[in-house]
């Protein structure tokens, strides 16, 4: 009986948090319109959130592409289809690994930083100070960061995929002797813009919304002390990662529904 009570209380608490997070998202979206005339606030955050995440995304993309080249070649060569390596690398990156790995990296690098920054602003009364200066912190602090995350994610995912394909080419063509022309032409023939590229873009936009939403909400909702900020940062990485992987499955199932 006690177990059911505990379980029930935990579910109710989780639903309450989810409800508050949903209202918070609604408030963010409502305040985002005000940024049309102050878009420089978003640009500043795109720099802080996106540009600083770029190095880790590029390096990771390169290595993921190189590993794909190695693994793909070793599998394809058994079936005499090594020339399709370019297609395999491109489809893997565009459909899955680009959006998913970028979102996971984004959650670890930018998401945790966003949560810690907003949480510390709360703990040091900077957000309260803004409120008392008649400045809405959701409009001034939260909405620009949220929009920056949503804008940055697809761009980062695109760069991850591009560098990953170069990594695959480096290994496949440069080291393993796959024909360069076959590598690119198979890719060109096999990759569909709507089914592969756009589906990947849709995924990365959804991941951008979800990861940044979790990051800003956790920061804004953090207990205003060191432990609270630390806990919120941890929640951001864990919840974002789980949400990305779960949503990826759902979206993939929906996108492949007519196959």
């Amino acid at each position: 009986m006690k177990m059911f009570q505990t379980l029930g209380a935990a579910v109710l608490q989780a639903m309450e948090r989810l409800g508050r997070a949903a209202l918070f998202l609604y408030e963010i979206l409502g305040n985002s319109w005000a940024l049309v005339t102050r878009f420089y606030l978003v640009i500043q955050q795109v720099y802080a959130v996106g540009v600083f995440t770029l190095p880790i995304v590029l390096v990771s993309g390169l290595f993921v592409g190189m590993v794909l080249g190695l693994q793909g070649y070793n599998t394809l060569v058994k079936f005499g289809a090594a020339q399709s390596l370019g297609l395999l690398v491109a489809l893997s990156l565009l459909r899955e690994l680009g959006p998913v790995v970028t979102a996971l990296l984004f959650a670890g690098r930018a998401g945790s930083a966003l949560t810690a920054e907003i949480g510390l602003m709360k703990a040091t009364e900077q957000l309260a100070g803004m409120e008392m200066m008649a400045v809405n912190p959701v409009m001034r602090v939260i909405a620009p960061r949220f929009l920056a995350g949503v804008i940055s994610m697809p761009l980062l995912a695109a760069m991850f995929s591009a560098v990953g394909i170069l990594g695959g080419h480096l290994v496949g063509v440069g080291l393993l002797g796959v024909d360069s022309g076959a590598f690119w032409s198979q890719m060109q023939n096999g990759v569909d813009f709507r089914d592969d590229v756009m589906n990947g873009v849709i995924k990365s936009v959804v991941f951008g919304v979800v990861v940044t939403w979790i990051a800003v909400y956790e920061g804004y909702d953090a207990a205003p002390n060191a432990e609270g900020v630390s806990r919120a940062t941890n929640h951001t990485v864990v919840y974002s990662s789980l949400a990305v992987l779960g949503l990826d499955f759902i979206m993939t199932a929906l996108m492949l529904g007519d196959v």
Binding site: L120, Q126, A128, G129, M130, M133, A134, V135
Partner: protein, 281 residues
């Protein structure tokens, strides 16, 4: 001088008060912080709200600033009942208020200059040259014109609070709320802040509400003081009147006595029983 058991009452006529707290109760979860509190903050004066930690001083300040809502009663600021205001009206009112937070609450990614310029940039479209002069004048008022380019982490505690004070007065408010302005400061910085509070009040005619438990500094600069405890007013009067009070509550607070109406010992069961018949905790 108010007797400690006498009901709290407004000592000033409404017309003289910028802030009127009428029968306000405030609860945090189930704990009552303020209980049917009534008091007035006179215009153009420095009013101190004193009391021990957790007595509801800061909650009262947040009720005046509209950051908290009372469970009962009215919080009138310049004739407007703060809990009834819409967000837009509340923000309009806040433009006429300044608040100095306990640790300054400076925006850490902006320099001292930009921190002071922040409210102007948010609320007015002034030419850059005018804005610059305005900010420098406010920084000069607090003696930190030369520190304009320093970042918040390069400022001492006292300097950070002075920059925050410059920011609080940059929109020329009718009232400034000071939340524990002396906490954690060395004696020199404490004296500087106290002098600034007094000077801003005298020169600009700003109504000041100082929440503090620092008896000596607060008594020096305030025209009138309230002593809060148990969610109600335990004493009120001029600092001199409070110093002469015979109320046990007031005496314990003003003299810093470790034991009295506020007990030294946290309620517990019998000491010997606890030692020899304990349940293992």
């Amino acid at each position: 001088m108010e007797n400690e058991r006498a009901p709290a009452s407004v000592k000033f006529p409404s017309s003289d008060c910028l802030v009127e707290i009428r029968g306000v109760s405030f609860k945090y979860n189930t704990r009552t912080i303020l209980d049917n509190l009534t008091l007035g903050i006179p215009r153009g004066k420095v009013t101190a709200i004193m009391g021990g930690s957790g007595c509801g001083k800061t909650s009262l300040l947040n009720l005046i600033g509209g950051r908290l809502r009372p469970s009962r009663g009215q919080v009138l600021v310049d004739g407007l009942n703060v809990p009834d205001l819409s967000i837009k009206e509340l923000y309009q009112l806040r433009k006429r208020m300044g608040m100095l937070f306990q640790h300054g609450a400076l925006l850490t990614d902006l320099s001292a200059f930009e921190n002071v310029a922040f409210p102007i940039r948010e609320h007015a479209r002034l030419p850059e040259a005018v804005l610059r002069n305005l900010v420098l004048m406010k920084l000069e008022t607090v003696g930190l014109r030369g520190a304009r380019d320093l970042m918040p982490w390069e400022l001492s505690g006292g300097m950070a609070r002075r920059v925050a004070l410059a920011r609080a007065i940059v929109l020329e408010p009718m009232m400034i709320l000071y939340d524990e302005p002396f906490t954690g400061l060395d004696p020199i910085s404490m004296g500087v802040i106290a002098r600034l509070i007094r000077e801003l009040n005298q020169v600009l005619g700003i109504t000041s509400v100082v929440v503090s438990h620092d008896v000596n500094e607060t008594a020096l600069i305030s025209d009138y003081a309230y002593l809060l405890g148990d969610g109600r007013i335990l004493g009120q009067g001029t600092p001199a009147e409070l110093q002469q009070s015979t109320s046990e509550h007031v005496r314990q607070f003003m003299d810093g006595l470790p034991d009295g109406p506020v007990p030294y010992t946290y309620p517990a069961k019998n000491y010997l029983e606890d030692l020899f018949g304990g349940d293992g905790r």
